[in-house]
Symmetry: C2
Subunit: 418 residues, 2 copies
């Protein structure tokens, strides 16, 4: 997986036709490029990708089937799109097994808050469904795409895995693997997938050309393979004829969808079910929707390793404000929540719906100033960071090793609901 | 590796310009295609590939340095071309370590005599140099290129490995591995190689196009990786800084050279020495130089599993004769040894130089008839087959498992010669 967010150095401004009449036409979203002039148009992305919008009815069914409250990421449209999520709810309802698969391309030593989004949601799904989870660390991909050594990508992997574990994944039900270590076990499925996809298709899906390395062309089947359950013979019995029909649900940022469109095309041709997907929006950079979080600009994102002082400074100085130019104007017209980064961050990290609504109402009507909203956000982010750093400090090398060891998982398949 | 001989179903007549004035121009040799109208012109191949002919001086030096008699495959020009073989002799002479690497694409259940050629010679080299040997079974390649299942390619692998072991490789010094099992350990080197080669280069070297599967484009680094010594951490200590500078010598049929031209290009760029190569000619089909041994025509080759009766029939009926049309003509003009398959087979399998010369002299002067030469060959081939089948019967599953297990090898690095 690439980073699910905008910190990829490969995210460069892409040549677009400046004469285009539809300004939303210039958005480009793939695993290596997320760019747009006017912010991503997510409805348009759903059209482009052919996925399905998550409507309130589906969320209601999710709550009915699971008996659990929908996560605020779902209710607030942060996870906004899906493919065959209904099949997963059907499977859960009828007691059929499935598992979760997500991943991360370890491109730097420390994660930022944007990186957390798919993992926070994945942990929620694991808690709700009580199913196994596999997390692929694509250090091979990062090595192939970036100017780093294998050794660096391995070091990033360990650091990132500790941050992921700190989110509270169940050690009994979660297998985290580094491609550089684990690819061998998936190799039979990798060649099966690789045999099915022509170079023409790879080029069409990912936009590679003949000047790219053959390593890059070899990679898509590696990210596809974990969506096939028998890529994990230690988790799902290879001798059980039912193993191949275990479903997979992939929570990820929508830029990863091309990999799984490809996977969904191939899976039925080699005897598997299509994996289901649930897509998140992109977590914005502090500077606003149209900017990118960049590993080379540490002020574009809040890192999990930032001190309270750094969190305070970054939000105070850099979080793009939807407030008005003067206090008088602001009190008259209120803030534009659509572009206000502090408010958007609150939609991610302030779980209390009523409080969020209250802040939104007051801010958009001018009763709250940007500085006040920023202070609310700063308190929340410092608290989350503090808790995260404490949790991460408890993640020992031993615990990390266990999460990453090839072992049986201890999970109950869902039972049939009344 | 592909089969080192002409039994590949991918060896199809290739479109060539019929108007070409130089009839030798139509020869095409790559890992999947060996075709020519007038027999392969090996001198021309050396020119095309940029390798070096093995001259008598080099053979003399080989004998001097090793203190061993040159194998008749060397003396008779069956191994006829090389790259940097001199570097290996230098290394041996100065007590520097190196290892041997060869391989086989297991495309059918039983091997024929042509398949044996690189292995017979490799065993000789192992005996002479007393160095470790790694044998790659490219069942992934066969699955990617042919209409077979993974399960079939795995079954072929085991059958072929037993035939290989039966040739007498030293269990203490030989590691035989199936790519489907072992690729994980080589994966760090595979991605390092893959990062260095563009698609343009792959297309130039192998002639793939965009309608080929991405699995095929992913394969060349997999065949290259065993030429890097740290692909075998159980054999060559990964913590020893000298490991990366251990040389590798690859005995193979010349159709495999494109893989290793690529490897030789990449190796120095990622910190390794270029592997050395020693190339064999193609073992001819019974029907003659311009025909191919085909898995779909069992009469085109003598298989190691053939009965004495089958060996007798195949040679009697199908071995292309350089003899004359009538007995009278034959006694007058003698046989054309250049095109006589029985005589050529004798150059492979009749070790006695004097006897071979005597047969050649008498046959080419008409004193021996084709039927008499065929009878000599039949006796030899039946004897070799018998011995091979007996040896193969002694190759138990346990022995096979040991050869294929990831383990330390027990070998002495060469010592400095006086």
């Amino acid at each position: 997986m690439s980073n699910n967010n905008l910190d990829n150095t490969a995210v460069v401004p892409t040549a677009v036709d400046e004469t285009t009449t539809d300004p939303s036409d210039d958005q480009i979203v793939d695993p290596w490029t997320v760019s747009s002039k006017n912010g991503i148009n997510y409805d348009k992305l759903i059209d482009q990708f052919g996925s399905t919008k998550i409507e309130p009815e589906l969320i209601a069914r999710f709550e009915r089937v699971t008996g659990k409250k929908a996560h605020h990421f779902l209710k607030r449209g942060i996870f906004f799109s899906h493919r065959d999520l209904v099949e997963i709810l059907d499977a859960y309802e009828s007691g059929k097994p499935f598992y979760l698969y997500t991943g991360r391309g370890p491109s730097s030593g420390s994660l930022h808050f944007g990186h957390l989004v798919p993992f926070i949601f994945t942990k929620y799904l694991q808690d709700v469904f009580n199913v196994p989870l596999v997390i692929q660390m694509t250090n091979d991909e990062k090595f192939l795409w970036k100017d780093i050594t294998l050794e660096e990508s391995i070091q990033f992997t360990i650091n990132n895995v500790k941050d992921i574990i700190a989110l509270g994944f169940d050690i009994e039900k979660t297998f985290i693997f580094s491609n550089l270590d684990y690819v061998g076990t998936m190799y039979p499925n990798i060649v099966k997938i690789g045999k099915c996809i022509t170079l023409n298709q790879i080029k069409g899906i990912f936009g590679f050309d003949d000047s790219n390395s053959c390593g890059k062309f070899a990679f898509p089947p590696v990210q596809a393979a974990p969506a096939l359950p028998d890529s994990f013979p230690h988790i799902f019995s290879p001798s059980d004829p039912m193993t191949k029909s275990i479903r997979c649900l992939i929570p990820c940022a929508i830029d990863q969808d091309p990999y799984f469109r490809m996977t969904r095309d191939v899976a039925p041709r080699i005897g598997y079910l299509k994996p289901s997907l649930i897509h998140s929006k992109f977590f914005p950079a502090l500077q606003g929707h149209n900017t990118k979080m960049s590993a080379s600009d540490s002020n574009s994102a809040i890192y999990l390793s930032d001190t309270p002082k750094e969190v305070n400074e970054k939000i105070t100085k850099h979080a793009f404000s939807g407030g008005r130019k003067t206090k008088e104007e602001h009190e008259l017209y209120g803030a534009n929540l659509e572009v206000d980064v502090s408010y958007e961050y609150l939609t991610y990290f302030l779980e209390d719906d009523e409080l969020l609504k209250d802040i939104g109402d007051k801010y958009s009507s001018g009763k709250l100033l940007t500085s006040q909203v920023k202070n609310i956000l700063i308190d929340i982010m410092i608290e989350i960071n503090k808790r995260h750093q404490e949790a991460r400090a408890r993640v020992t090398d031993e615990i990390t090793k266990t999460f990453m060891s090839v072992r049986k998982l201890n999970f109950a398949m869902p039972t049939i609901k009344k």
